[in-house]
Symmetry: none
Subunit: 161 residues, 2 copies
Amino acid sequence: MTHFLGTHQNRLDAKGRVSVPAPFRAALKARGEANGNANGNAGHLVLRPSHQHQCIEAWPAEEFEALSQPLNQLNLFSPEHDDLAATLYADAFPIEADKEGRVVLPDTLVAYAGLTDTVVFMGLGRIFQIWEPAAADRRRAEARERAKVKGFTLPGGAPAQ
Amino acid sequence: MTHFLGTHQNRLDAKGRVSVPAPFRAALKARGEANGNANGNAGHLVLRPSHQHQCIEAWPAEEFEALSQPLNQLNLFSPEHDDLAATLYADAFPIEADKEGRVVLPDTLVAYAGLTDTVVFMGLGRIFQIWEPAAADRRRAEARERAKVKGFTLPGGAPAQ
DNA sequence: TAATTTCCCATGCTAACCCATGGCATCCCA
DNA sequence: TGGGATGCCATGGGTTAGCATGGGAAATTA
């Protein structure tokens, strides 16, 4: 699988570590290898606070790299570059999993997402998010509701539902 | 990692020294080696006061070098060349880290950025900045706000709202 | 010679690395 | 079809190495 699918629950231990769900690990590894990173590791992640929600966004390195593209078009001295770079990069944490496939979640992100001892990994295709369990439930219910109201259509002709 | 990511806090000691955060050191070293500087050192920095904010801008030597390119196109005796050169170079300090990875911040820059005993390193991708902690917080909040107002959308992956 | 600055060595702490264990699901074999 | 065995996955904890920081000695400048 090359996408992050499904929802997984894991425990956050006393050291702030949490196991990345095995399916997500596999997806990360596949991505890394596809991009020629022959090194055995899982291809690292970039964690950021989400703009829209109180949760942590996890970007595979390659995906995050794509964010630099629009930035590179801008003049390094322009205020636009400054704002974007500060927003994208200053709050970002490059994270690497240990041999067991665990990552340490930075304190500030744990606080931002309101995490306690159990966290939820929510797959969103090209990226995934890390939530406090109850907030994750609310979020999914809300997303379903919005999608239903809007009649949920996919670009490219995929049939609704 | 070839980019400066995240925000790090370190102490400015009585001698005006401060440790460059380890991840930034690694990024600097990687840059230096990528450009054929086979010497083991971290590849030096150029510090200058930021135009737009009360903070210190830190440029990797190679990145700063790239700024010379447009200058070289200009007539050496033109007013444009004079102004640009004065702006870019006159207030710049070439800085080299010691064996422990620390740098001494020039007095004028410390004063300009209003630094006291604790400083914040803010990663901005290709460069980084050095801030007084409270000012750094304000700056990040401001950047988020301005980016949001501009309709800043993440390419792909990010969920619609 | 006095005052700074630069180099070098020393130390506490934190975080990454490594090894070990328990539980759950799957597979195999009777 | 049921019971046992096996392997992966999540989790816990001890140890070590790297990092940030402090202070002293040598070198440089005024």
